[in-house]
């Protein structure tokens, strides 16, 4: 059904676009939470997870209990689930998607699979359609027939899929993540809630990771701390650096800064039962043999400072100025996070040989002045600024800049800018606000800036 069609049927239809990115992110988040049950968690996009729990069930009190616990964990995360445990991934996937069993079907899996509709094979729609046209409705109908007869009509693939579904052929899952290149873990016998203990553990982990990085001649630019809480919540902290890094002290300091600056502090709740530190974005580090009397490298210290400030206050808080494309001089600059690659400033420059268009100093807000000028839009002849009267010797203008009408609030009056030089050779940037005769009370004059 198209959206227009749906809207025709329901007038006030609430519509939200499908956000594949967010859905995928959610799925990955859930996958990470599921890593507590087994290291082998596979994604089954768009909306499924496959866990290989071989040898894990006893830790959770048996298969049924494992399924129960896993569903409960997902439920706490606000996600309703259907779950099924079967002997092979293919059967589990088909049962959970195409039957309403929703329970462990390990014992009578063959019967359960036989009752699945042919759509569970997930062949091309055309093939599924053809099977239905032939009157073959469920897997049982197919299983009774000679594989060669089916393969002749629907391709060899159908036999494979049928085998996989029936558990005659076993395909293992591809886990979501291969273990990180460099990782250190610490499991506690009892959940730990004391932050001091946690920091101590982190220090050990930082040392382990830093050592591992050094042995490999690389440094990490992203360090990930994973805190597994006893009740299933997973807290992850990321610190990033501008340069590859492997110094345990530096890593630990950045993590500490991060921990100290969290808007919502790490809540140990019932305590953490595992900690993990991994390093990512590995880049080679060439050890520099600097001379003992060499001056400190300026670039290094600036980026180190930006890293530290960023880790402490958040990357949105450490800014760098740049130009912004607008006619309005008040809005012609902008700021971006300093950790982002700096772009060349977008400032309007006069063509070479021309006088500068914009002054070096800008007053914010502009200073109101008294000025005498010819109507309707002549340049000022004389003006008084900071109680000093200036006689205008030369003037150029007006440069007329209208307000940005699309911005909220009442529209500002148009400004006429003049570059003027007084009798003493000082240069000013003045403007008249409001066009003559357009608004009562206008125009008014302002000093907006000074040329060198």
């Amino acid at each position: 059904m198209t959206l227009a069609d749906a809207r025709a049927r329901v007038l006030r239809l609430a519509v939200a676009p499908i956000d594949d990115v967010a859905d995928a992110a959610l799925l990955r988040r859930l996958a990470r939470a599921a890593e507590r049950f087994t290291p082998l968690v596979g994604l089954d996009p768009p909306d499924g997870l496959i866990l290989d729990v071989t040898g894990c069930a006893h830790l959770f009190g048996g298969e049924a209990a494992l399924v129960q616990t896993a569903r409960a964990t997902m439920h706490r995360a606000g996600v309703s689930t259907r779950a099924c445990l079967a002997a092979t991934p293919a059967a589990a996937r088909a049962l959970v998607r195409f039957s309403r069993l929703g329970r462990v079907a390990a014992v009578d899996q063959a019967a359960a699979v036989a009752g699945l509709p042919v759509a569970a094979l997930e062949m091309e729609p055309e093939v599924t359609q053809a099977l239905l046209r032939a009157g073959l409705r469920d897997i049982g109908d197919l299983a009774n027939r000679a594989p060669a007869v089916l393969a002749a009509r629907f391709g060899a693939e159908i036999a494979e899929k049928l085998d996989a579904l029936q558990g005659l052929q076993d395909n293992r899952i591809t886990p979501l993540r291969r273990p990180p290149d460099c990782l250190a873990e610490r499991h506690f016998a009892e959940p730990v809630g004391d932050m001091a203990c946690i920091e101590a553990a982190l220090q050990r982990l930082a040392g382990d990771v830093g050592g591992a990085l050094e042995r490999r001649g690389v440094g990490g630019r992203r360090f990930l701390v994973t805190l597994f809480r006893a009740d299933g919540a997973v807290r992850r902290l990321t610190v990033e650096t501008g340069e590859p890094c492997r110094d345990a002290a530096v890593i630990l300091r950045l993590i500490r800064l991060k921990l100290g600056s969290l808007a919502d502090p790490v809540d140990p709740g019932f305590g953490f039962d595992a900690l993990r530190l991994s390093a990512g974005r590995l880049e080679p580090v060439t050890a520099l043999a600097t001379r003992l009397d060499a001056p400190p490298l300026a670039d290094d210290s600036l980026s180190a400072l930006i890293d530290r400030l960023g880790a402490r206050f958040g990357r949105e808080q450490v800014l760098r100025l740049c130009g912004y494309d607008s006619h309005d001089p008040d809005r012609a600059d902008d700021s971006v996070p300093a950790q982002e690659a700096a772009e060349p400033p977008l400032m309007s420059a006069a063509p070479s040989g021309e006088p500068p268009l914009r002054p070096l100093t800008l007053f914010d807000p502009p200073h109101p002045i008294d000025a005498l000028a010819e109507v309707p839009d002549g340049p000022p002849l004389r003006f008084r600024w900071r109680r000093v009267v200036h006689e205008v010797a030369r003037a150029e203008g007006p440069e007329r800049i209208a307000a940005e009408w699309w911005r909220a609030g009442p529209a500002a009056p148009t400004r006429d800018y003049y570059r003027v030089e007084d009798a003493a050779g000082r240069r000013f940037w003045l403007f008249r606000q409001g066009l003559y005769g357009s608004d009562p009370g206008l125009p008014r004059w302002f000093m907006h800036g000074l040329f060198a």
Binding site: L3, R7, V10, L11, P17, L132
Partner: protein, 1115 residues
């Protein structure tokens, strides 16, 4: 602020209209009116590499000079006759007060026309204005060259192109920001156009204006080029700055917050008063004076574009008039083998005389030439329009309606005084029109033939979408706003619609977006080719107007649209496509083949009473124009008995007569329930029967566009010009204060001439009701002819008619299922698609009772291609005896064979769909192995019996609908009937047969779903195995049942029956339930999520509906 008061005399020469797409923000009309009011001496319109807007400016100036106010804008809403709305100019009312001033100024105002050449090679823009007719031709050729080498909508020009031939053009160089290469360019231009180059200077308030002006003055002096003051205008008034900013954003595809310095810094690029311009150019008063000198050098106006029709059709040494007369009398003898009746030859002489006086001979000859080619190629065609209603056209074979027999005389439709170009639209078979178009290009050459343009304008939906995006509204909000538009043709976005989208109309951002979108509606967005309006010329067409490439390969079109062409009185030929002609051609072919009776449009027997009997019953599925539900309901009321009744039938079910409330008075008079009387003027003012002459054929009720005008001219003695103004004003009565003016004028004149005041008032009310929607009688007559012919075919040769209709798809109103059903109800045996009997097209077979049976063709099946079907038929010989034989001999492979099996086409082999499919899927996908093929031997070994479950009837029917969109086995509801019976639902036939006012419950598949115009009711047609039921749901109830009404494929309705005296029955719905889920029961044992019946798909036209007929949605 007149020229005298300001002391300055000035003409703006560089102005863009909104035909500089997404750059200029004002219409040419607005620019002209504003310039006039500001006291400019003239205005130069120059759009970016285009002259598409200049005709509008020309027309606007002419209107201002004649009437002192701007005409409403004509916006086409479809390609049919009369399908346009008139939109009043934004400030028409204000202009009203200043009429005298405008009239006076318009007379000496000079319009300068040209184009702004934007170069691809970095040269700054040069505005080129035509100084003479020759200059105009050069400009058009230059633009044509740029257009033809670029993809559609672009124009690639270099300075060299201009320099190659720049004579007779006035060039204004608009220097860019950098003046570096100015001297070079000026020098070069000075060489190629000595004395005709100006350096344009403007004062845009960029700060360095005066310094720059000084530099330009020096440059001008160095090169000996005069400096010309301009303001480089983008819009008429400063208030349009925001709209222009939005256009810039749309063009650049950026939201306004990111547009930055792509936008103009200020609102200065509007038309300024001469005094203000003089003040700005105080440093160089000569530049202001130069503008007047520039205007005085111009010796060109668009009315010099005189137009010559091609000579090709006239043999050398003959005059066109002579030749037309000779052809006419030669053909007349063929048309009337028994001798030309005296009445006809007298009429022919009169018409030829009129044609001679108006110099239309070559026009008629050109049309005749095209029609003759069509006849040679065996393509059916028929002309319509004012000039088509002539005996000349009839004898020349352009039309098949004998005007003498039906009082549709040429002279009635042609005004000698107005000198409007004649109008003939020629409809061709839709499948073969392209042949005619390519013939025209081939015969006249691309430099002499071109299609007219269609201006694609902003409609509410596209306007709000683009503005929303430019203002940075989220896609959701924009989509919601755009989604509230029921039809795309409304020209307003109301508060209610905004609220309906779930948005707050008082929200400033929404309000701003809606306001800007409102202003954008109607602005041109781009040019596209017209569906078939050709301009042919004797000389070069690109001397008249630039030609550009169309999106379609092998097509070129000119920059002007139909209205521009009308304004300049150029003559055009409309080469249009009509599906019904294809159908009739195919029916005639079948008649020739199976009945040995060759036919053409003129040889269908006239006025056959059984045909009218059939139409009176409302039995008209498939018949041209009268097959919609509204027409079917009208037929038993109007009871057509002769040809002219069909002319009325075609015209009466239209928004004009319906909204003008003329349908019921006409029906009452026709039924004799109301006296037909024609008041007379006082004897001294005119003949007593003057109104009788205008209205007697429609029983005193004006039903046609032409009648409304005649009424004003005859009864109220409106002059031609007054009638024209009335025609233009009609649609805009609501917006402007014009209504009282015309009403007073018309009523007082009629009263003065002795008419009763009440009657005069009533006449005016009727004209008013007409609005802009009226169907012209001159077109209705030709359509009526096709109504009659298709009805005659359906009545006497239902099998042939059904086969032709199916073979001409897509066309008409109904899906194949209804066409086949209708044929069977008329006693035609219909046979299924079969590999041993079918062809690609639907064919006819003897039915064993001396009649013809319809054999469905492979074209009805999904997934089959004609080329494969032809191969199958060619390889058939004595027939196929096995699936494999078919595969090998016809060289068909997997997909095709599966499609054939899906269509259940193997029944003659004793294989039902399921078994056939099982067999077919086993065949190898590739071509047969050479060894087996050579031996013609079966490649496959034996296989055990598959023992597939038998297909039950529901499955069969559902599969039929999936693969053929129809089933000959049963109607889906017949399968579901036991279930419906249990629920106590009546069949449609049984429900309709109950007495009036009975309360009934019935169910059926939804065939049609319509909400006509601003209708207060929704009409739904249900169908089941017994017949159809017409449902009416009051719009007030719609919200309650919206989901069911809009979504149901199978619908249950409960309500009361209402029966009209003519036997039309409606079921007034009190409750509507969506029962589409029942359709899934056809598959019975199938699980719910299996791909059974597809979910309802969106389809806008009944004949396009999928699977089970869903209907035309509201629009």
């Amino acid at each position: 602020m007149s020229a005298a008061a300001g002391g300055a005399v000035y003409a703006e020469l560089v102005a863009m209209s909104h035909f500089s797409f997404l750059e200029g923000a004002s219409s040419a009309q607005e620019l002209i009116l504003t310039a006039l009011l500001l006291g400019h001496a003239g205005l130069g319109i120059a759009d970016r590499n285009s002259v598409a807007g200049v005709v509008r400016a020309f027309a606007a100036l002419r209107e201002l000079g004649e009437g002192g106010s701007l005409p409403p804008l004509r916006q086409r809403i479809g390609s049919g006759p009369g399908e346009h709305v008139l939109v009043p100019p934004a400030d028409g009312a204000a202009a009203e007060d200043m009429r005298a001033l405008i009239l006076e100024r318009a007379r000496c105002f000079r319009l300068v026309t040209g184009a702004r050449l934007a170069f691809a090679d970095g040269t700054p823009d040069i505005v080129a204005h035509a100084r003479t007719r020759a200059g105009w031709g050069r400009l058009c050729r230059l633009l044509t060259r740029g257009n033809r080498r670029a993809p559609k909508g672009e124009c690639h020009l270099g300075l060299d192109d201009l320099c190659a031939d720049a004579g007779d053009l006035n060039l204004i160089l608009r220097p860019g920001r950098s003046l570096a290469r100015l001297d070079d360019t000026l020098g070069r231009l000075g060489e190629v156009a000595p004395g005709a180059v100006w350096l344009g200077a403007s004062m845009p308030r960029r700060g360095d204006d005066r310094r720059r002006l000084a530099l330009l003055m020096q440059a001008a002096k160095r090169s000996g080029t005069p400096l010309l003051a301009t303001n480089d205008v983008l819009y008429a008034r400063p208030e349009a700055r925001d709209l222009q900013d939005v256009l810039t954003c749309i063009r650049a595809g950026v939201p306004i917050t990111a547009a930055g310095r792509r936008l103009e810094a200020n609102a200065e690029r509007h038309l300024k008063t001469p005094a203000e311009m003089a003040r700005l150019f105080a440093d160089c008063p000569a530049a202001i004076a130069e503008s007047l000198r520039f205007v005085e050098t111009i010796d060109f106006s668009l009315d010099q574009l005189c137009y010559d029709y091609p000579d090709e059709p006239v043999p050398p040494g003959r005059s066109a008039q002579e030749w037309l007369a000779e052809l006419t009398f030669r053909h007349a003898e063929a048309r009337y083998p028994a001798g030309v009746p005296e009445k006809v030859s007298c009429l022919l002489r009169q018409e030829l005389d009129l044609i001679g006086r108006l110099d239309y001979a070559r026009y008629f000859l050109t049309i005749h030439d095209i029609v003759a080619v069509a006849r040679e190629k065996g393509i059916l065609c028929q002309g319509r329009g004012s000039a088509a209603n002539s005996a000349v056209c009839y004898v020349l074979g352009i039309t098949s309606v004998d005007p003498a027999a039906h009082d549709l005389l040429f002279a009635r439709f042609i005004s000698e005084e107005r000198r409007e170009p004649p109008d003939i639209d020629v409809d061709f078979e839709h499948e073969r029109r392209e042949e005619i178009i390519q013939h025209i290009y081939a015969r006249y050459g691309r430099e002499r033939a071109g299609l007219a343009a269609t201006v694609i304008r902003y409609r509410p939906k596209s306007a709000i979408r683009d503005v929303g995006k430019a203002l940075g509204l989220s896609a959701d909000v924009t989509a919601a706003l755009a989604g509230t538009q029921w039809g795309s043709w409304g020209s307003e976005i109301t508060r209610a619609q905004v609220a309906q989208a779930g948005l707050d109309p008082d929200n400033p951002e929404i309000g701003r977006a809606v306001g800007l979108a409102q202003r954008l509606i109607g602005a041109p967005r781009h040019l596209s080719q017209h569906v078939g309006g050709f301009i042919l010329t004797r000389g070069r067409l690109d001397d008249l107007v630039p030609i550009g490439n169309a999106a379609m390969a092998e097509r070129t079109f000119i920059e002007w649209d139909k209205d521009d062409i009308d304004t300049l009185k150029l003559m055009k030929v409309d080469v249009l496509a009509l599906g019904m002609l294809t159908c009739i051609r195919k029916a005639f072919d079948l008649m020739g083949r199976h009945l040995g009776r060759p036919m053409d449009l003129a040889s269908v027997p006239w006025e056959d009473a059984t045909v009218y009997d059939m139409l009176c019953r409302g039995d008209s599925i498939g018949v041209f124009q009268v097959e919609s539900r509204a027409q079917i309901n009208m037929l038993p009321r109007l009871r057509p008995r002769e040809f002219y009744d069909l002319v009325i039938q075609v015209a009466i079910v239209r928004p004009g007569p319906i909204q003008g409330n003329m349908v019921h008075p006409y029906l009452r008079r026709r039924a004799g329930a109301e006296p037909v009387r024609f008041p007379s003027p006082a004897p001294e003012h005119g003949p007593a029967d003057e109104l009788h002459q205008v209205l007697h054929r429609t029983l005193g009720v004006p039903l046609f566009q032409e009648q409304a005008m005649r009424l004003a001219m005859v009864a109220a003695t409106f002059s031609d010009i007054e009638a024209n103004r009335l025609r233009r004003a009609m649609a805009t009565f609501r917006h402007l204060g014009l209504i009282g003016q015309f009403e007073a004028l018309m009523v007082s004149r009629m009263v003065a001439r002795g008419y009763d005041r009440g009657f005069a008032q009533n006449c005016f009310e009727q004209i008013k009701g007409f609005g802009s929607y009226g169907f012209p009688e001159s077109h209705a007559a030709s359509f009526a002819r096709l109504v009659y012919i298709s009805a005659w075919l359906k009545c006497h040769h239902p099998a042939i008619f059904a086969a032709a209709l199916l073979n001409a798809q897509p066309m008409g109103f109904y899906a194949p299922a209804q066409i086949v059903r209708d044929a069977r109800e008329h006693g035609v045996a219909v046979h299924p698609v079969d590999i041993n009997h079918s062809h690609w097209d639907n064919t006819l077979e003897p039915d064993g009772r001396g009649g013809l049976a319809l054999r469905l063709g492979f074209r009805q099946a999904e997934g089959l291609w004609q080329e494969e079907a032809d191969r199958l038929v060619a390889a058939r010989r004595a027939g196929f005896d096995s699936v494999e034989a078919l595969a090998v001999r016809a060289g068909l492979q997997g997909r095709t064979l599966r499609a054939l099996a899906d269509a259940d086409a193997f029944t003659s082999l004793g294989l039902d769909r399921r078994t056939a499919l099982w067999e077919v899927r086993r065949l190898p996908a590739g071509p047969p192995l050479p060894l087996f093929a050579a031996a013609d031997a079966p490649e496959l070994g034996a296989e055990p019996d598959a023992c597939l479950p038998a297909m039950h009837p529901g499955e069969q029917v559902a599969s039929d609908y999936q693969t053929l969109r129809l089933s000959l086995k049963a109607h889906p509801l017949a399968i579901l009937r036991p279930h419906l019976d249990r629920e106590g639902l009546l069949t449609c036939a049984a429900a309709v047969a109950r007495p009036g006012n009975a309360f009934v419950r019935t169910a059926g598949v939804v065939l049609v779903r319509q909400r006509p115009g601003k209708g207060t009711a929704v009409f739904i047609t249900l169908e089941d195995e017994t017949g159809i039921a017409n449902i009416v749901l009051w719009a007030s109830q719609l919200d309650r049942f919206r989901r069911a009404v809009m979504g149901a494929r199978l619908m249950e309705v409960a309500g009361r029956l209402e029966k009209s005296p003519e036997g039309v029955t409606h079921l007034m719905a009190a409750r509507i339930i969506d029962r589409s889920d029942l359709l899934d029961r056809l598959w019975q044992a199938m699980p719910a999520d299996a791909p059974g019946l597809d979910p309802a798909q969106r389809a806008w036209h009944p004949r396009d509906v999928r699977l089970l007929p869903r209907s035309r949605d509201f629009h």
